[in-house]
Amino acid sequence: MSTAVNSATYAAMPIGRVPTTLTINGQTRTRAIEPWTTLLDLLREGEDLIGTKKGCDHGQCGACTVLVDGRRINSCLKLAVTLDGAEITTIEGLGQPGNLHPLQSAFCDHDAFQCGYCTPGQICSAQGLINEGKARTRDEVRELMSGNLCRCGAYTNIIDAVLDVIGEQA
């Protein structure tokens, strides 16, 4: 059964909607989505997957990073209707309290965040980086994580956490 996003309110909208099949954190559903809705707003407002953060809405900060078919993207720059058939993993899909992903554990152990707002994006970005398989050294990880801003300045701890996990997988 297809369920409309944020049902009642969105249903009242006459701007037209496009049936779109998305697999989000392993669950496949077809949704009727307005063409002007970004993947970021769909996740946050439509699905209550608020772990994906909005920090600029312009692809400049990386807080909204999610994995689409295993690749990291800024979800604020992607209209949801363009992702028909895609598999999306958000921070909620990577790991949960009691079942942490290795990156999530490493971030805790290295105190790789303070306010925590950029954190889900950093972690998803780090997973994307690992999937890309090209970063090995500290300099490479720094360079390739530079799309994810952290205003609290946890950068050195973030790199320590990511290198820990890369090291384990190597």
């Binding site: 944020n6 309110t9 969105y10 009242a12 909208m13 006459p14 701007i15 307005e34 002007w36 809705t37 707003d41 946050r44 407002e45 209550d48 608020i50 772990g51 994906t52 953060k53 909005k54 920090g55 600029c56 809405d57 312009h58 400049q60 900060c61 807080a63 958000t90 921070i91 909620e92 790991g95 309290p97 942490l100 999530q104 971030f107 805790c108 105190d111 965040f113 303070q114 306010c115 925590g116 707002y117 950029c118 954190t119 889900p120 990880v141 720094r142 360079e143 994580m145 530079s146 799309g147 801003l149 952290c150 205003r151 609290c152 300045g153 946890a154 950068y155 050195t156 701890n157 790199i159």
Partner: protein, 748 residues
């Protein structure tokens, strides 16, 4: 009996709210699910000064899903007096009143709010609103405004006027060595990652719950009650998670006003978030110019300090900072004078941003000190030791503690400062010039009246609560560790609650007073629980503790233990059952002056730091890399070395931004910030940050605050940019007196 290593004050534990943050389950202000929500989108003024003549809303209202457009013309009644709008951190003047009338005081001022059933509809409709203006001449150019600099009549609370000593003018004229110049800091924006947002739940009975991005739930609570005439019981403000703030959330920001205004008018729940561009429509660190003149003997002994600064403020409030006092306090010098003035420009009122005043005034001063060290041909670190003042040289008072000498020593050793070659441009590797610089940092060790409660259940669970905030500072963890320390319980059995205006009273979290103040309050509340526990244990048949007094026992592993006979242990649960108690709840208030604090009453209370920086500068391109920082910090007792280190790392990173990147540019013709986004307002990114080493030097100080804690939120940024500027001089021989030191300034 074998006991696990006690976890308490001084234990490096993981942040207790960490799992929520790494799994995306921590909810920030705009993320609380509320039924039947309306989305508000802010429309901003396109001119810097004038009036709104008309608002054409027709096209916006025609967008499906749009419910209302609120402007000054149709808004419901709100308070009108300045007094009603004055918040906890009020600044002398006339506070900004959103949507109050047709007056425009600054570009990007909110002038309308569009409410719609979806965010997208509100955003689109907002773009269709046409506003006609009557413009008036504006000025946003600080250099022009300097012609009308002035000394404000009314001083802001917390402002410390500088105290002159000796005859600095004469001493400067007579000095064999003289350095004088104007040092500048660009305007900066806080740019926390979470954008300002508020979710207002309208309950239908006239009461509201507000999730707000703020550094103080009770400050916003009082503001909303005052401005909208709510009875205090009808408003609850929550900020359990705050995505950074750095001072921008000390005062209520206009999105919370607009969200509550809309909720009240439409009797619906409302969410308003700012965009990143709109994050430049309020608080910013004031632009500054500081004229520093130093005189010294040829030995490097300072004989004269003259320190005059001007910072920017708005036309409607006098935002004052302590800019000029730091150098006068920190250096032994018989003659010193200082002056501080404001200059008004047509922007929003400038605001506190991480180490307000010191990050500007101490940092710029430390560049001048470096210049004098070179003039005297004395090693910059040695120069600071020659002019070291063990007492507060401005007020003539001792410090409760000042381990800056130790910080210099430990920092220098870790940095290997002794291997530095003295001459500028004398170190290089390939095409990069290498420079080493140092600087001193300084901040206030503050304490603010704070209350907390502690509730112990018979199952051994302890809940401590305080209305303070955790803006990434680690307050949850600090409260947990202090409670664990006081009552001898493992952190897993403790829950810390904060960020709720219903909890025991706390001020806004800022000024680095949070850990010292809420920590002390939690300790007091837990101590009161301990006393009740001991009393309850007296009811146990046979009185195993034999009438012991509180000073005869300690609390360990969930037991009351006799100090003299540690084998005598009464589990908390046994004591509570004997007294027929299911829980013990106590509330306590920590106010300045208790404990040993009275001994420090007439002393100066400050944190200090010694910062060492290495830069590598591409000789042809002028690109600067900060490859190494050592920050040795003297900040009293450290509650959690792990989160404490992160606080300093964060301050240092923002200091690197101040040194090299951060500057908000104005187009003075339009009177508008030009680079109001993350693409053009540059903050440090991963690639900019290399090796940073943090050292906490031993500094025991029972007089400064009850826990001996001095606070860490600000000290990391103070002086960092100076150490980098000084390193750039050492690398290149080029002295840049204005921050940030962008490539053009190095190449020119």
């Amino acid at each position: 009996m074998a006991t696990a290593a006690k976890i308490g004050i001084g234990s490096a534990i993981n942040r207790v709210d960490g799992v929520e943050k790494v799994t995306g389950t921590a909810r920030y202000a705009a993320e609380h699910p509320v039924e039947n929500l309306l989305y508000g989108y802010i429309v901003e003024a396109a001119i810097a000064k004038g009036r709104v003549l008309s608002v054409d809303e027709d096209a916006a209202r025609a967008v499906p899903g749009v419910v209302e457009v609120i402007t000054h013309l149709n808004r419901p009644h709100v308070a009108w007096t300045d007094h009603s709008y004055q918040d906890e951190m009020k600044i002398p003047g006339s506070p900004f009143r959103p949507l109050y009338d047709d007056r425009i005081h600054f570009s990007q001022q909110p002038i309308a709010l569009v409410l719609a059933e979806t965010f997208e509809a509100a955003r689109y409709a907002a773009s269709l609103i046409e506003i006609a203006y009557e413009t008036e001449a504006h000025n946003t150019d600080f250099d022009v405004a300097l012609d009308d600099e002035y000394v404000p009549k009314k001083k802001r609370s917390g402002y410390v006027p500088p105290k002159d000593r000796g005859d600095a003018a004469q001493a400067f004229a007579d000095a064999p060595l003289r350095v004088a110049g104007d040092y500048r800091l660009a305007p900066e924006h806080h740019n926390a990652m979470e954008m300002f947002g508020s979710t207002v739940e309208w309950h239908g009975d006239g009461s509201i719950t507000v999730w707000d991005k703020t550094q103080g739930s009770q400050g916003v609570h009082a503001y909303l009650a005052s401005v909208f005439g709510f009875s205090k019981k009808k408003v609850r403000v929550l900020n359990p998670y705050v995505g950074g703030a750095f001072g921008s959330g000390l005062r209520p920001q206009h999105q919370v006003f607009l969200a509550v205004l809309a909720a009240k008018m439409l009797e619906r729940s409302v969410r308003v978030t700012m965009t990143r561009q709109q994050m430049f429509s309020h608080a910013y660190r004031p632009q500054a110019v500081q004229s520093i003149a130093l005189g010294a003997e040829t030995t490097g002994k300072l004989t004269a300090i003259r320190n005059a600064a001007t910072t920017s403020t708005s036309r409607y409030e006098d935002n004052m900072e302590n800019v000029v006092t730091w150098g006068l306090m920190n250096y032994d010098c018989p003659n010193a004078d200082a002056e501080y003035t404001l200059a008004q420009i047509d922007t929003p009122t400038s605001a506190d941003m991480r180490a307000p005043g010191a990050a500007t005034g101490m940092t710029l001063f430390e560049i001048a000190i470096d210049e004098m060290a070179y003039a005297a041909k004395v090693d910059p670190l040695e120069f600071r030791l020659i002019n070291y003042s063990p007492i507060d040289a401005m007020n003539g008072t001792p410090y409760t503690s000042k381990a800056l000498r130790e910080a210099f020593r430990e920092g220098a050793e870790a940095f290997k400062w002794s291997e530095r070659s003295a001459e500028p441009r004398s170190m290089r590797e390939g095409n990069e010039l290498i420079g080493w610089g140092c600087a001193t940092g300084m901040w206030d060790a503050q304490f603010s009246k704070t209350s907390a409660s502690a509730k112990l259940s018979a199952n051994g669970h302890l809940e401590v609560a305080c209305a303070t905030s955790d803006i990434g500072t680690g307050s949850y963890t600090v409260m947990t560790l202090v409670a664990a320390d006081t009552l001898g319980l493992p952190p897993e059995q403790i829950t810390a609650k904060l960020g709720d205006s219903d909890l025991p009273a706390a001020p806004v979290e800022g000024g680095s007073w949070g850990a010292a103040s809420s920590g002390a309050a939690v300790q007091l509340a837990c101590q009161a629980v301990g006393k009740k526990l001991l009393k309850a244990a007296g009811k146990i048949a046979g009185e195993p503790l034999d009438g012991a007094k509180i000073e005869d026992v300690l609390f360990e592993d969930g037991c009351i233990v006799l100090k003299d006979t540690p084998t005598v242990r009464v589990p908390f649960g046994d004591a509570m059952r004997a007294a027929d108690l299911t829980e013990i709840e106590e509330e306590a208030t920590a106010a300045p002056g208790f404990g040993d604090m009275w001994k420090g009453l007439h002393k100066s209370k400050n944190t200090h730091s010694a910062i060492f920086a290495e830069v590598r500068v591409d000789e042809e391109l002028g690109v600067v890399r900060v490859t190494r920082i050592v920050d040795a910090v003297a900040a009293g007792r450290i509650i959690n070395p792990k989160t404490a280190r992160s606080q300093i790392l964060g301050g240092v990173v923002m200091g690197i931004g101040m040194a090299l990147h951060e500057e908000t540019f104005s187009d003075h013709r339009l009177g508008r910030w030009m680079n109001h986004n993350f693409g053009e307002y540059h903050v440090p990114v991963h690639a900019d940050i290399h090796d940073i080493q943090v050292i906490f030097v031993d500094e025991s100080d029972p007089e400064v605050t009850p826990l001996g804690v001095k606070g860490l939120g600000e000290i990391g940024i103070v002086g960092t940019a100076a150490a980098i500027a000084n390193a750039i001089y050492h690398a290149t021989g080029k002295r840049v007196r204005s921050l940030p030191i962008t490539i053009d300034k190095i190449l020119e």
